[in-house]
């Protein structure tokens, strides 16, 4: 459990670092509408996404701090994270989800190709990138679990 406790502390530090980075970026005004990206919508989206992730991280940090102070909560959190059925569900959902996502992106690329070539090539590039990541992951786990 000491190993897990240390892992949680590392996660806590990374989360705090991320939140501090988001606050710094906001204070520096990098997400000011029309400033950094020259587009209000993109600036707003970037700011919203970064703040959303920071908010999720803060809730995780609260959970981690609570677990680090209470051994019973720590054990429950450990069990929840290492439960084999939950891991199997995540693994199956991930592999099936990626296949569906790539198929969906390729279909969208074909449809978008009738109107806009840029969108078509962007979607093809996205599908290619996801497929390459999946291939790299497969190669990694193949070598990890073979002989």
């Amino acid at each position: 459990m000491d190993k897990y406790r240390n892992a949680l502390k590392i996660r806590l530090w990374f989360s705090a670092l991320y939140c501090a980075a988001v606050v710094t970026v906001i204070l520096l005004g990098m997400f000011r509408p029309g400033d950094a990206h020259g587009n209000d919508y993109i600036s707003g989206f970037s700011l919203g996404m970064c703040c959303g992730i920071a908010f999720v991280m803060i809730t995780f940090m609260i959970k981690i701090i609570g677990a680090l102070r209470n051994p019973e909560k720590l054990k429950k959190l450990y069990i929840k994270e290492t439960d084999e059925r939950i891991r199997l569900i995540q693994s199956k959902a991930g592999s099936a989800g990626i296949s569906v996502a790539v198929a969906g992106i390729l279909l969208a690329a074909i449809v978008a190709g009738y109107w806009n070539a840029t969108v078509f090539f962007t979607l093809i590039a996205a599908a290619l990138f996801i497929s390459l990541v999946v291939l790299a992951m497969k190669a990694f786990y193949w070598s990890k679990y073979t002989e």
Partner: protein
């Protein structure tokens, strides 16, 4: 896969939560094992058998296992 986990648990008056905490899984995993919706890994099967002081074959029913 059919199991005798519920049987053993009731005999010893142990709740699903207690068993789950003892073998390091969630209560939902114990429920899934009991109703046969999930098949335990070898490690989990060993932990459950050891917890009840019996063998894996006694708790888990391998009669439905397909032979190749």
């Amino acid at each position: 896969m059919k199991t005798k986990i519920a049987e053993y648990r009731k005999q010893r008056r142990i709740s699903q939560e207690e068993l789950a905490m003892a073998v390091g899984v969630t209560r939902q995993t114990i429920t899934s094992l009991e109703v046969g919706k999930y098949t335990a890994s070898l490690v989990l099967a060993y932990k459950i058998a050891r917890y009840f002081g019996t063998t894996i074959e006694d708790i888990f029913d391998f009669s439905d296992l397909e032979e190749l």
